[in-house]
Symmetry: C2
DNA sequence: TCGCTCAAGACCTCCGACGTATCAGGCCAT
DNA sequence: ATGGCCTGATACGTCGGAGGTCTTGAGCGA
């Protein structure tokens, strides 16, 4: 195994074992390199790789730190990875989202706070009846994110955040092509919100399913 | 932005835009570095980072290639990330798995082939009635993976693979050793398999839920 | 035709140097 | 005494070059 890969494993080991805790500062590059028995250049490659997936946070002039290791932060790397997928796998991502999002929405129905409900309502109100497609998609993303966040599971939240990326494009496309898509989306959002307000988990789940299935159906018929 | 980060973005751009396709070979380090306007050292950091998340595949003495970009390959990076999480977030990962796995099992009930069913049966038979914990864990992993693969969604498959990472699972099972978990797991596996054979999606979903919920419950009571 | 040898090509590792950003402490004016 | 500015130390950022190692494939001989 290359020395750089060894270094990645060793640094990972130090974190997993607890020798390095979130927020801790690593020894400076030259010292760490000496400690791990490799050159500064090779060590930097390892550090850079770990920084890309948000394990480490390097700050020029300051030092290198272990990030908070929050699921939210780490799964952010997921969206980077998802970006590489082309349209032919979008349907698979959407299918996973179709599983997760209704479940998350149902969970949210039992936990969401009144303030959150009001915030969501305000958000929909602000959008109006005939928003531009770009505004609608942006709002759609924010609406669902707000709900999922109320599910109380940050892993689930980050995962859906990452998965929603690639389907965003498709939604824009759809809004531009399909006539009634805008109005339909608005109505479905209202329905989901109403179910949440009623604390009706099953209704919320169903509306979320319908909401995503309509996108999926359209996408499937178009490809 | 640092030149290395720029290089990462540019290489990503080349792949996403289609200038570089899966399997393509990149220009050699020195040329690519010159082309992107940075030093070979800095370029190597970028390449190494992309190699860690399986976007690039570097082969010493040969060259650097774009990987197949299969969801399976890219989401493999997920398990690396999951490894960093401690026990307090394991429950959240398990909760996501509890959503996905039953859904995947239900999907499999409608699509799984006879050969796959026979293979799963043979696998359980081979394990016997009183397997070692190590064997059981390995079998458990393989059993579920076989089912999920039959769901026909490779993204879902990779995602679950990452979530049920060896670290998480191993730790959970070690503690379960003393309980009646072994026999219970075997019985539940049989039940899931029977439901699949009956093409009974709802039964399969339920048994999968029960299966995971029991682990979750135990874990929750232990932490 | 098969197997071996060997040289070219490409990545691997290291070194040393210099550029640049950050932070902490001292200095000075208010 | 307090606040702001300046400066030096520190640590990451970037670079160019020199060998080293591994893979590949062409060329050669049995």
């Amino acid at each position: 195994m290359a020395v750089t890969d060894e270094a990645i494993e060793k640094i990972k080991g130090m974190i997993v074992s607890g020798a390095l805790r979130p927020g801790d500062r690593l020894p400076k590059e030259s010292e760490l390199a000496a400690g791990l028995g490799l050159s500064r250049n090779s060590l930097r490659e390892a550090v850079r790789a770990l920084a890309l997936i948000r394990i480490l946070d390097v700050r020029q002039g300051d030092g290198t730190y272990v990030t908070s290791l929050d699921p939210q932060l780490l799964l952010e790397a997921l969206s980077f990875v998802v970006d590489f997928h082309r349209d032919d796998t979008v349907l698979e991502f959407l299918a996973v989202r179709r599983i997760l999002e209704p479940a998350a929405t149902a969970m949210a129905a039992l936990r969401i706070s009144e303030q959150q409900l009001d915030a969501l309502t305000a958000q929909l109100d602000k959008l109006g009846d005939a928003p531009s497609v770009e505004d609608l998609v942006a709002c759609d993303l924010e609406f669902h994110r707000g709900i999922v966040r109320s599910s109380g599971n940050s892993v689930l939240c980050s995962l859906l955040d990452g998965l929603s990326g690639p389907t965003t494009r498709a939604r824009v496309w759809r809004g531009l092509t399909q006539e009634d898509a805008v109005g339909r989306t608005l109505r479905e959002h209202r329905a989901i919100l109403a179910a949440l307000r009623d604390r009706d988990a099953e209704a919320a789940r169903s509306w979320a399913t319908v909401h995503i299935a309509s996108v999926e159906q359209w996408l499937r018929s178009t490809l």
